[in-house]
């Protein structure tokens, strides 16, 4: 109260002073940018990412790899709620950017989808990377053996088709049963998605390779 009074007083006196002197505009106030902490009225923001059961043990395995960049570089608090099976993220007072929380959340989410930590880390580092998910049934309704064959076509022998697409388009692909997740930049996601869709629809791997080669060559020539 006491502190508040003089300020208000100060302002008033200033204002009166200004008025008294001669109609000159008061100097612009200088405000420092708000910190993440002060944003949203200083309240702490949370993000909670649920952990699927099949990612439970990898999470345990790579916990430190996940924790370190988040805590050190992103300046966020992270903890695992075992009871609720969720990873919780919280902003700290010295979190530099509000978007960090979102990025970290995306990073953790990507890990939960199935991506590796080094690949998911790119989300933290690059701004324009996205994760796109779609299902095989979105492309073509396949049942039973056809579905299995489609999945096999997508990954290829020892995963070589998937790797080929990944290397060619600079993306990362996760095929989880009938769900497909692609991590990469927007254009690259598009290319990868097209190739995968062609594979789902039934075109042989060689054809997809040739197309990929063409596309990547074109991409490379552009720059």
């Amino acid at each position: 109260m006491s502190t508040e009074a003089p300020t208000s007083m100060e302002t008033e006196t200033v204002a009166s002073k200004t008025k008294l002197e001669s109609n000159t505009l008061p100097p612009k106030p200088k405000f420092e940018p708000l910190k993440a902490h002060e944003m949203s009225d200083g309240r702490i923001q949370f993000r909670k990412v649920s952990v699927p059961p099949h990612r439970y043990s990898p999470l345990k395995k790579y916990w430190m790899d996940i924790y370190t960049p988040i805590y050190e570089q992103m300046k966020l608090d992270i903890r695992m709620n075992l009871k609720a099976r969720k990873v919780e993220l919280k902003t700290r007072s010295d979190t530099p950017d509000v978007s960090n929380l979102q990025k970290c959340a995306d990073f953790v989410q990507a890990f939960m989808l199935g991506f590796d930590v080094p690949d998911a880390i790119a989300l933290l580092r690059l701004d324009e990377l996205y994760v796109e998910s779609f299902e095989i049934k979105d492309v073509k309704t396949l049942r039973g053996e056809h579905l299995s064959r489609a999945i096999g076509r997508l990954s290829g022998k020892g995963g070589k088709t998937k790797f080929a697409i990944e290397n060619a388009t600079k993306t990362r692909i996760v095929i989880a049963d009938t769900k497909i997740h692609i991590l990469g930049s927007f254009a690259n996601i598009k290319i990868a998605r097209d190739s995968l869709c062609n594979l789902i629809l039934g075109s042989p791997a060689g054809k997809v390779y040739s197309k990929l080669r063409q596309v990547t060559a074109r991409l490379a020539e552009r720059f």
């Binding site: 324009e128 290397n167 060559a217």
Partner: protein
């Protein structure tokens, strides 16, 4: 008939005849009683007078009372037909044998001879009626008095000297054309005379020739008979003459028959026969020739096929054959396009087929051919001039394009590293750190190449150094002289770059003026598209740069 009555009737008849003769021709146009009476009487007289000469006559006298003209006519006709033919024959006979006329004329022959002749005539032929009828026709023609006169004359003469008459007639006919005869009769007789003359002459010839051949005794045929007839003794005159006459008659009959029915053949066949005979006789007078002639004569004699007829038969048969062949379906060789089903089996083997061979015939391999080939091979081997296919080496002056291969293994770099590298390359390509593996690889490959080169130089007998692969080098399109000399003295057209390097255009290259409207539009659209793409790219670049560089600012601002 009673002679007195006959005498009376004859007188009246003669009178009536004269009366008829005197009447003018126009008067005949109108039927008159007196004229008809006169004519009847006259005809009666004639009939009765002629009767003794016709042994065949059925009527003793012409019956005119109560008879129609037609009936009277028929009676006369019956009588006169045979008479006329006999007369004709007699005339012809005398034409051929004038000497007999003289004999007849002597009178020794007289009526008895005549009678015999007549009898023979009767026995021999039947066709004489025609001539008699003809003459009768002429006789009964009321408009023609001359005929009656002629007949009168002829008949009267016959009464006295039958053959003399004939001979006279013959002589008259032979001598020339007399105006007394009517045209038709004259024509016919003239024609007949001509034909008969031909034959007669030839017959006479043959007769003469045969007469020459008195040596030949036993020869049958016309000539022989003639000859026999010719060699005549006075005692046998009658017989010979009879025979001759009879034979003549026969001949005449034949001639007449032939003349009326089949004249052409007879003419030409006889001509042929006669010509051959003449030829033969001109050459030799041997038995053989005469024999051949005789055979021909025999052929002629017999009514069988003459030589000419035989030839004609042959011709006819040939013609028939040919016609038959034309009508029959043709032989397969003449039928045009024939498939194997349409002809007999193996029938093409019998025919000498000729067709174009578009293929060169296979060369016949002889010893010479093989020797020549071997010589060629030997020379080639000695020279070493083999026609080997030379491999076309592609000039590897250009640096090989880098082909990015699809890596099918899991990438070792994380996605973040990948993008990091990409970013670094974009911003500062010079300072882009080469990957460790590539660097090592390149160094290793360089070392290995050097080593291989040295080893090849040592080991290979025919060592060829590998062509140097040029790295990409910048070529400026500057004249060569300019590059070499500091101060270009002259300007030459020789440029460093080959024309292909300057411009290697594919497809149709058209100038602005040559383009069609559609093509112009297309070009403009392409240009616009490219520009838009470039613009978008630039915008994208800018945006990316903005985001990457001004990231912190954004963060602070946000």
């Amino acid at each position: 008939m009673i002679p007195s009555a006959m005498a009376n009737s004859t007188e009246t008849a003669v009178e009536s005849l004269h009366h008829i003769k005197s009447t003018e021709p126009p008067e005949w146009l109108v039927p008159k009683q007196e004229l008809s009476q006169a004519v009847r009487a006259a005809s009666k007289l004639l009939f009765s007078s002629l009767k003794p000469h016709c042994p065949k006559s059925t009527f003793d006298q012409l019956l005119t009372e109560g008879f129609d003209a037609e009936q009277i006519w028929q009676q006369i006709d019956l009588q006169s037909q045979p008479l006329l033919s006999s007369l004709r024959r007699e005339v012809k006979k005398f034409e051929k044998h004038p000497e007999e006329i003289s004999k007849f004329k002597d009178g020794g022959v007289g009526g008895g001879e005549k009678k015999k002749v007549l009898e023979q005539i009767e026995t021999d032929n039947v066709v004489n009626d025609d001539d008699d009828e003809d003459d009768d026709d002429m006789d009964m023609d009321e408009d023609e008095d001359d005929e009656e006169e002629e007949d009168e004359e002829g008949e009267e003469e016959e009464k006295e000297r039958g053959t003399e008459e004939e001979s006279e007639n013959e002589g008259a006919e032979k001598g020339g054309i007399e105006d007394k005869f009517l045209k038709i009769k004259e024509l016919r007789e003239y024609l007949e005379e001509d034909e008969a003359r031909e034959f007669g002459l030839k017959k006479k010839k043959t007769k003469a020739e045969s007469k020459k051949e008195e040596e030949d005794t036993e020869e049958e045929g016309d000539d022989d008979e003639d000859e026999n007839e010719g060699s005549v003794d006075d005692d046998d005159e009658a017989q010979e003459e009879e025979d001759g006459l009879g034979l003549f008659d026969g001949n005449d009959e034949e001639d007449e028959d032939d003349l009326e029915n089949a004249r052409y053949e007879d003419f030409f066949s006889r001509k042929k026969n006669k010509s051959s005979k003449e030829k033969a006789k001109s050459r030799d007078m041997l038995e053989e020739d005469s024999g051949s002639d005789d055979e021909q004569d025999v052929d002629k004699r017999k009514n069988g096929p003459s030589k000419h007829e035989k030839e004609l038969d042959k011709l006819r048969s040939k013609i028939e054959e040919m016609e038959k062949a034309n009508l029959d379906p043709k032989v397969w060789t003449m039928r045009g396009e024939v498939t194997a089903a349409q002809r007999q089996k193996n029938s093409a083997l019998e025919v000498d087929l000729d067709f174009e061979h578009n293929v060169r015939p296979a060369p016949v391999i002889t010893e010479e051919v093989t020797a020549s080939l071997e010589d060629l091979i030997k020379t080639r081997i000695s020279e070493g001039m083999f026609d080997d296919v030379q491999k076309a080496r592609t000039s590897s002056s250009k640096a090989p394009r880098e082909i990015k291969e699809l890596d099918e293994s899991k990438s070792k770099k994380g996605l973040a590293e990948v993008y990091e590298e990409e970013f670094v390359q974009k911003t500062d390509p010079a300072s882009a750190p080469l990957t460790f593996s590539d660097e090592l690889k390149k160094e290793a490959s360089m070392l290995f190449k050097k080593l291989c080169l040295k080893l090849d130089a040592l080991s290979h007998f025919h060592f060829t150094p590998k062509p140097v692969v040029e790295d990409m080098s910048i070529q400026t399109n500057v004249p060569a002289l300019a590059m070499e000399e500091v101060a270009p003295m002259a300007v030459s057209d020789a440029t460093m770059l080959a024309p292909e390097e300057v411009f290697s255009g594919k497809g149709d290259i058209k100038e602005e003026a040559e383009l069609t409207k559609a093509e112009r539009k297309r070009r403009r659209a392409n240009k616009k598209r490219k520009f838009k793409a470039e613009a978008a790219k630039r915008m994208g670049k800018k945006a990316r740069q903005m985001t990457t560089v001004g990231n912190n600012d954004e963060g602070r601002e946000g």
